[in-house]
């Protein structure tokens, strides 16, 4: 913080700023770095340093001692342990499938909701406010709410399933229903978010294209597929990237709703990493799980950014 105050004393310049562009420019650039430095220091210390440290732990023989974690020598054994572990295989597969299914369903339903809202003549403000509530809701609360809904004897889902003749299935106690239940809770919370993004994209689409399509006698369905969807691609790509990155770090919902169970049925990569580190105190393998997860997210982000930029380039 001292850098700022000293810059503040230097910066109110004695010479007039007009007329000496070169010196002025240098001074402004220095000021720019001074203004940026607090943010860079905080981000560097609290995000970049731990990322590097995590990679270091993942390549070390880490042992937990009374006053911390001791790192003894370089090893790749953490990675070979993790990559050969069947629980990790399952968690990886589960996280990928969970991400794929929830994101696709959310994009489809979200687009449908956006199309409805776009045609709505009254009450759009109310609808937007309603859609924003699940988005801003604490995920832990969402998990508790659905836990109560799925509860085996007095849950409302149980009453509905019984009414349609499915008896009293133990939703959260059986692997496949538990996974589906988790996905429904996620879809309920996140679809509104997708709908809002898609609606904002829809509203910005040029109207004349639609008039031309109508003149050409294009029907509603073919107009949607041949005009709306292609024009909407950048928006859909944005929603997709946001959601994939978020879903891949899945932690809060299964931690509270199913605690990764039954067995390991809903153990995501983040839950596996957390349990390894904080429950089993296996810092090395835990860090390896965390690092591989981050690497996958990073890879996905770079690929999507690239695909996204190509898309934007085409638009120009």
């Amino acid at each position: 913080m001292t850098t700022i105050s000293s810059a503040a004393e230097q910066a109110p310049v004695s010479a007039p700023l007009v007329g000496r562009p070169d010196i002025n420019r240098k001074r402004m650039a220095r000021l720019g770095w001074t203004f940026t430095s607090p943010a860079l220091i905080i981000i560097g210390a609290v995000t970049i340093f731990p990322i590097v440290y995590s990679v270091v732990i993942s390549f070390s023989n880490a042992t937990v001692s009374g006053n911390g974690v001791a790192l003894n020598g370089f090893t790749t054994s953490n990675y070979s342990l993790v990559l050969k572990n069947s629980t990790w295989h399952y968690a990886l597969g589960f996280t990928i499938i969970y991400t794929a299914i929830t994101v696709i369903v959310e994009l489809v339903i979200g687009t449908m909701i956006a199309l409805v809202l776009e045609r709505l003549t009254a009450g759009r403000g109310f609808m937007m406010a309603l859609l924003l509530i699940p988005w801003s809701m604490i995920t832990v609360i969402n998990a508790e709410l659905w836990g109560y809904i799925y509860q085996g004897t007095y849950g409302v889902a149980d009453a509905i399933l019984n009414a349609v003749g499915l008896g009293h299935p133990d939703v959260l106690g059986t692997p496949t229903p538990a996974i589906i239940g988790l996905m429904i809770a996620d879809i309920w919370k996140t679809t509104p978010f997708v709908a809002i993004i898609v609606l904002a994209g829809l509203v910005m689409l040029p109207g004349d294209v639609y008039e031309a399509a109508e003149v050409d006698g294009s029907s509603g369905w073919s107009t949607f597929w041949r005009i709306t969807v292609p024009l909407l691609r950048p928006t859909l790509a944005l929603a997709l990237i946001f959601r994939v990155l978020q879903a891949f770090g899945l932690f809060d919902l299964p931690y509270v709703l199913t605690n990764g169970g039954p067995g390991t049925a809903t153990t995501s990569l983040a839950i596996l990493g957390y349990d390894a580190i904080f429950k089993n105190l296996s810092y090395g393998p835990g860090a390896a799980v965390a690092t591989t997860t981050a690497l996958l997210v990073l890879l996905g982000c770079l690929l999507s950014l690239r695909a996204f930029r190509v898309q934007v380039g085409k638009e120009d």
């Binding site: 109110p12 402004m28 809904i149 007095y154 009453a159 904002a200 994209g201 928006t235 931690y255 997210v297």
Partner: protein, 281 residues
């Protein structure tokens, strides 16, 4: 806003309204269930088939949340940590956003991309080293530990949003300030900041929501009862054997209200942040 002719499509207008009604049901029913359940007596919460309308309506759960359960403490902790972290993010983020948006700096693009990449890093990747770091500092179970972490993790996105807003301010505005003899800091404070106010609202509401709802860091760093935030407190309500849904839902309703009001008032900024703020650049 596109303006399409809908001659002879009155049937669709009807269909739209019916679809909208289903959207309201889809989003609203679980919310109704949360609110209705918070007003049921502990006995009625266990009714099978469930009570669809609370009868009798009771405030016991709300009293219990603040009485035997320490929801008041969690609420205070969440409020302090969220408000301080949001204020820090806005102060530090405005300075960085101003510099990156308006001052001639080399390597700006690389810096912005780095920020973008950091902002998508999953929390699990850094939680263990941060835990060790905060423990060495003696900052586990403290306010400053979580405030620092939340500030750092919300800064990249805030800087992005603020930079985009700063970019949109006309250059002439700054020059007026300079001709008047104002230094860069005064220019930022008196001329740029008022014009970037929508950006501050957007960044602020996103940061507030993220801090208010964050779970993994809070669970790991602040596990002691006196330092728990709302998400951790609610997750740890009750014992291993019973889940006190009544108190959980009463606490949940209280936790949803402030953020709901904020998001409702600033919904314009939330929507602009979700869309333009992230696309531009």
């Amino acid at each position: 806003m596109r303006n399409r002719k809908r001659t002879g499509w009155h049937r669709i207008i009807n269909g739209v309204n019916i679809s909208a009604f289903f959207v309201v049901l889809f989003v609203g029913l679980p919310l109704y269930w949360l609110i209705a359940s918070s007003f049921k007596t502990p006995d009625n919460l266990g009714d099978s088939p469930p009570q669809y309308f609370p009868n009798p309506v009771t405030l016991t759960n709300y009293r219990d949340a603040f009485g035997p359960e320490d929801f008041g403490i969690y609420f205070r902790n969440s409020l302090i940590i969220t408000l301080v972290a949001t204020a820090l993010v806005l102060i530090v983020g405005t300075m960085a956003g101003y510099a990156l948006g308006r001052l001639p700096m080399r390597g700006k693009f690389t810096l912005m991309v780095t920020l973008l990449i950091i902002s998508v890093f999953p929390a699990i990747a850094v939680v263990a080293p941060l835990y060790l770091l905060l423990r060495d500092l003696g900052w586990l179970n403290s306010y400053q530990g979580l405030i620092l972490v939340y500030t750092a993790f919300n800064l990249p996105f805030a800087v992005w949003i603020l930079r985009n807003y700063m970019l949109g301010i006309p250059k002439e505005m700054e020059e007026t300030g300079r001709i008047d003899g104002a230094g860069p800091i005064r220019t930022l404070w008196t001329i740029i900041l008022p014009m970037a106010l929508p950006g501050l609202f957007t960044a602020g509401i996103f940061c507030f929501t993220a801090c208010w709802t964050e779970f993994l860091f809070a669970l790991t760093f602040n596990s002691a009862n006196n330092y728990r935030t709302i998400p951790v407190g609610i997750a740890e309500f009750g014992t291993v054997y019973t889940v006190p849904y009544g108190t959980i839902f009463a606490a949940s309703v209280v936790a949803v209200v402030p953020i709901g009001i904020l998001v409702f008032i600033f919904r314009k900024f939330v929507i602009s942040g979700l869309t333009s703020g992230a696309v531009k650049g």
